[in-house]
Symmetry: C2
Subunit: 287 residues, 2 copies
C-alpha cells in the first residue's frame, strides 16, 4: 500500500475539541448557549441510535439538548406545529428533523418549515440556494466534512481537477458546489456518465458518492490522487464503501477508509453548524 | 468553415410563435391572461431599451403588460412596497425587477421579495435552490435558452461530456445545473482552471460564459463538438463573443454566432417563464 490514510476519527475529534472551546467562548461573550433541537417522530431503531449520538455529542460540546420526540402516529399538523414553535423559539439555535419520518407524513414540506438560519442539516431549498449562490448560510454536514478532511490534510483545492461521482441532494450536488466555491474545476459524474474510469483518471481529487459498492477501482485513479469515499455498504465482512480500498490504496496518494473516514465527520459538522447557526442568529438579531 | 450555424433568431421566433398559441389556449381554458410586471427604477437608457423590448414581446405573445416605473430617487421602502403589492396581486403572473437598480438601493434584498412562483428571472435564492434540487420552479432565462438551442438542433445532452466555462450566478452555475438535471456529465471550469484548453478538448458540448473576448480558440475544441457562446463584447467591429468564431467554426460541428445565437433566446425564455408562472400559480391555487 502506498496511500496515506485520512483519519476521519482523528479529524472529527479535533473539530469537536475546537468547537467545545468556541462554544464556551461564544456562551461567555453573548450569554447564549447554542441549543440543538433534534426532532424524532416515531421509534425507528436506527434513527433512535443516530439521534442519541447527536444529542450526546452536542452536550459534550457544551450545547443545550432540546430534543423533541413525537409518537409514531403524530399527524402532519402536529409535527408542523412543533417545528413552527421551534422556529419561533429564540433558545433554539438549530433544528434537525431526523429522516426518514413515518410514511404518512410529507417529509419535504416539513423540512421547509425550518428557517434557513436554524437549518443545521442544510437541506431546505433556501439553504441549497444560498450554497449555490455562494452566500452565507448553513451547508449540509457530510459535504462540509469532505472539505474539512481535505483541508486537514492540506490537499490543495483551488485549481484542482475534482471529479464528484454522484449527484444526490445530500452529497454529490452540494459537495460539487462547495468545491466550485473553493475554486476547484469540478466535474459532476454519475450513473449516466460514459467512460467513468477515463473521466476519473484526470482527477487530482475523487469524491465517490454514487452508492455502488466497490465501483471505484485502481484503474479509475491517477497515481497520487486523493480519494474520498462517501459510500457506506453493509456486507458480510462489515462496512465498505464505493471505493475498492485495497486496490485503490496501491495507487492513490491519500485515501479515506470506510469506516473511519467521512463517517465520523458528519456529526462533527452538525455541531459546527449548530454553533454557526447560533452565531448567524446573533448577527441577524443585531442588524 | 465546417460548422453548422445555430440560428438563435429562428429558434426564438419559433418559441415565441408557440407561446402565442399556448397563451391563447391557457387564457381560453382558465380565463387567466398571463401578465408580466416589469419594474424599472430610474431612467438608465440601456435598461429602458431592454424593458421596452420585454414589454413589446409579452404583448405580442398575448400577455398583459403590467409595467411599473419608479423615479430615479425612489426609496428602498417605496420599491419594497411596490414589489410586495405585485407579489400579492393575483393578476400579476411574473415580476421582473430590471437590474441594475440605482446605487442607493439594495438590489439583492429587493429581488428576494419576489415570490418563487412569480420569479420569471429565476434569480431569487428560492428559485436557485429549486433548480439545484431539480424541483419544479422557474429557471433563469439565458441558461434555459441554451438548453432550448441544444434541443432545437437535436444535440444529445444525456451522457454528453459538457464543459461550462464560467460560474456566474446568472449563467454558468444555473446552466451547469440544468445540464446535470438532463443527465450530462458536466465540468464547471473558470478563470482558475488549469489547462483550460485540454479540459475543453474532452467536451462534446462547450458552453462559454466566462466574459473574456475570443478566449475559446480552435485548439480548445474537439472536432465536431457543439459550441455555445454566451459572451457578448462590444468592439470597433461590432459585437463578438467569448469564442473566436472564425477559427472555431473550422473545427466545431455546430456553433452559435454572436449576435444571433444565445442573445435572442433570453426574451423568448422570459415569455415562456411568464406563461409557466401563470400555470404554476393556477396549479398552486387548485391545491
Amino acid at each position: 500500500m502506498t496511500a496515506g490514510i485520512i483519519d476521519g476519527k482523528a479529524v472529527a475529534a479535533r473539530v469537536r475539541e475546537g468547537l467545545k472551546t468556541e462554544v464556551a467562548a461564544f456562551h461567555a461573550a453573548t450569554g447564549i448557549q447554542p441549543g440543538l433541537a433534534t426532532v424524532l417522530v416515531g421509534g425507528d431503531p436506527a434513527s433512535e441510535v443516530y439521534v442519541a449520538s447527536k444529542r450526546k455529542s452536542s452536550v459534550a460540546a457544551g450545547m443545550a439538548d432540546l430534543h423533541q420526540h413525537l409518537a409514531d402516529d403524530a399527524s402532519q399538523a402536529e409535527v408542523e406545529e412543533l417545528l413552527k414553535g421551534l422556529a419561533a423559539d429564540s433558545s433554539v439555535s438549530g433544528i434537525l428533523l431526523q429522516l426518514p419520518v413515518p410514511k404518512h407524513l410529507d417529509a419535504a414540506s416539513l423540512v421547509e418549515l425550518i428557517p434557513f438560519e436554524k437549518d443545521v442539516d442544510g437541506l431546505t431549498t433556501m439553504s441549497v440556494g444560498l450554497l449555490a449562490q455562494n452566500k452565507p448560510g448553513l451547508r449540509p454536514c457530510t459535504p462540509s466534512g469532505v472539505i474539512e478532511l481535505l483541508d486537514s490534510y492540506e490537499v490543495p483545492i483551488e485549481g484542482a481537477n475534482v471529479v464528484v461521482i454522484g449527484r444526490s441532494e445530500l452529497v454529490g450536488r452540494p459537495v460539487a458546489q462547495l468545491l466550485v466555491n473553493r475554486n476547484a474545476t469540478v466535474t459532476i459524474a454519475h450513473s449516466r456518465t460514459k467512460n467513468l474510469a477515463e473521466v476519473c483518471r484526470g482527477a487530482d481529487i475523487i469524491v465517490a458518492a454514487v452508492g455502488v459498492k466497490g465501483l471505484i477501482t485502481a484503474e479509475f485513479v491517477k497515481p497520487g490522487a486523493t480519494v474520498i469515499d462517501v459510500g457506506i455498504h453493509r456486507g458480510p465482512e462489515g462496512l465498505s464503501g464505493d471505493v475498492d480500498f485495497a486496490g485503490v490504496a496501491e495507487v492513490a496518494g491519500l485515501i479515506t477508509p470506510v469506516p473511519g473516514g467521512v463517517g465520523p465527520m458528519t456529526i462533527a459538522m452538525l455541531l459546527a453548524n449548530t454553533l454557526r447557526a447560533a452565531q448567524l442568529q446573533h448577527e441577524l438579531a443585531a442588524v
